[in-house]
Amino acid sequence: MTVAGISATRRDPRRLADRLARPVFLFCAVLTAAILVAVVGVLAVETARFFGAVSPVRFFTEVDWTPFAEEPRFGVLPLLAATAQITAGAAFLAVPAGLMTAVYMEYYAGVRTERALAGVTTMLAAVPTVVFGYFALTFVTPLLRSLWPGIEAFNGLSACLAVGLMILPTVVVLTRSALGAVPAALMETGLALGAARGRVVARVLVPAAAPGIVAAVFLAMARAAGETMIATLAAGNQAHLTWSPLEGLRTLTAFIAQSSLGDAPSGSVQYGAFFAVSAVLFAVTWGLHATGGLLMSRRNEGGVG
């Protein structure tokens, strides 16, 4: 006899399933955690080993990146600067364009136009980055060179344009969600007070959504900084410090992707350099992404308006 009919009936098959389910799900979670710890761990270990051979001070201050030269130099600054340039350039293009497209979709477009624009955004987001890289190299660059004869075959400008187009959907989608969180009553109140639609948008709605929009910018920049194929195909492989967008650049990502890392022997200082550069890239994108995520969650907690 069971205790008042409320004790567990241990032989019940559904109890067995219930007792098995928890460890199975726990196993999945532990596996996920273990894999991700292994990813971070292997970067950390190899980076630490690299810094045993190359001084971190020199790594972060020198301006020569010639890892495969006879006397290799490991100054990461040119790569870091190139990544910063591509990221800033892409954001400079994509943020205003994305913001304005989002504003148009939210406050001006008719239902059909809005749907068509949403479709274009979705398709743009699904295009593999290597296809954008191809587009930059075979269409944008020749176009730029016909307009601007002095431009190099590999240049930062072409990459900026393509990366900007690539991160545009991120800006549009996240900005729309930020604008969508602004109470509709604000628009009605503004219009009822006799303000023009554009004025309400520019003075009330966009400012109210600003934290979410800023978050969108950070998340888009994280994607731009980590973009590899466009930078590899269009920006080139000259690791040198330059301010000119018309010259070739080599980003952190392009160095990793292009140097046929598969051939570098494990344990060599060159092999370590890939991990050190990856770690820098990891830190940069993690910082951008975490900042964006933080702003996003703060927006969700605080509400808008």
């Binding site: 726990l26 999945c28 996920t32 001006y108 477009a109 593999p128 290597v130 219009l191 973009e227 590899t232």
Partner: protein, 281 residues
């Protein structure tokens, strides 16, 4: 309610022009790609192996490789990702280790794919001795997809109404019965949508596969996961770097084939989702 949207003013016009520009940019990409690919189009292109002569080059091995990679990625990342999401949402306490893991996973979704490639090289290709194989590529892409699958699955599970869980618990259902009978069916459409987006992204990835040492030139179609790593994205890359105009056409052809694979996958996911929603109504 957004009110009537037809009203126009300076800001609206400016925004409209920019939006039109975005559409134009997208169409330019599409037209350039399609125009180039057109000249590569012939029946043999889909099945022929790669070649040093552009005219005879095909995407047979690359296409097979991408399908292999996609299957491996889904098979590895989907069960583990959904299982992790279920654990974090339905079993784990909201605080402590589980919460920290949840937060880390969310941020790892933002780490660039090329970094996963470097980690995959050390862990799978060299650490586990998989070499530059499809299996190493599949494992690396699965790790890349995992955070996104977890994050979107968690969001879908969290969106399941509380009342549904409570009603089932209140009627004496076990936790497993609640998860299997209520939570997963209700969350399934969201999980499919989110995971599909993740796999669309990984299937188009070239960077991590390049790092692993993907073959640019393969004369036979891979038959097992132990065969050398070939894929459409890396094939597009390899042909794009050739300076001859002929290779620009086959690169575009491979790019269009890649887009078609992604399209088919998204249509399949949409069908599955439609069935699910039809079945539960």
């Amino acid at each position: 309610m957004r009110g009537p949207k037809h009203a126009r003013d300076g800001i609206g016009t400016a925004c409209g022009v920019v939006a039109a520009g975005v559409v134009a940019a997208f169409l330019t990409v599409a037209v350039v790609l399609a125009g180039q690919a057109w000249s590569a189009a012939d029946p043999g292109f889909l099945f022929d192996p790669s070649s040093r002569v552009a005219d005879r080059a095909g995407i047979g091995p690359a296409l097979t490789g991408t399908i292999w990679l996609l299957a491996l990625t889904v098979a590895l990342a989907l069960p583990v990702g959904i299982g992790t999401a279920v654990y974090l949402e339905e079993y784990a306490p909201r605080t402590g280790v589980a919460a920290v893991v949840g937060g880390l996973v969310a941020n790892l979704a933002g780490v660039p794919s090329v970094v996963y490639g470097v980690a995959g090289l050390a862990l799978f290709a060299r650490g586990l001795g998989m070499g530059a194989s499809l299996l190493a590529g599949g494992c690396t892409l699965a790790v890349l997809a995992l955070p996104t699958v977890v994050v979107t699955s968690r969001a879908a599970i969290r969106a399941v109404p509380r009342g549904l869980r409570e009603a089932a618990y209140g009627l004496g259902a076990t936790r497993w019965q609640v998860v299997r009978g209520q939570v997963l069916p209700a969350a399934a459409p969201g999980i499919v949508t989110g995971s599909c987006a993740a796999f669309t992204r990984t299937a188009g990835e070239a960077a991590p596969l390049l790092v692993l040492g993907a073959a640019a030139f393969m004369t036979f179609a891979p038959r097992t996961p132990a065969d050398p790593l070939a894929s459409l994205p890396t094939q597009v890359f390899a042909w794009s770097t050739r300076s001859q105009q002929d290779f620009a056409a086959v690169a575009a052809g491979a790019g269009v084939a890649l887009l078609l694979v992604l399209l088919v996958m998204n249509l399949a996911a949409r069908t599955i989702r439609g069935r699910m929603q039809g079945g539960s109504a």
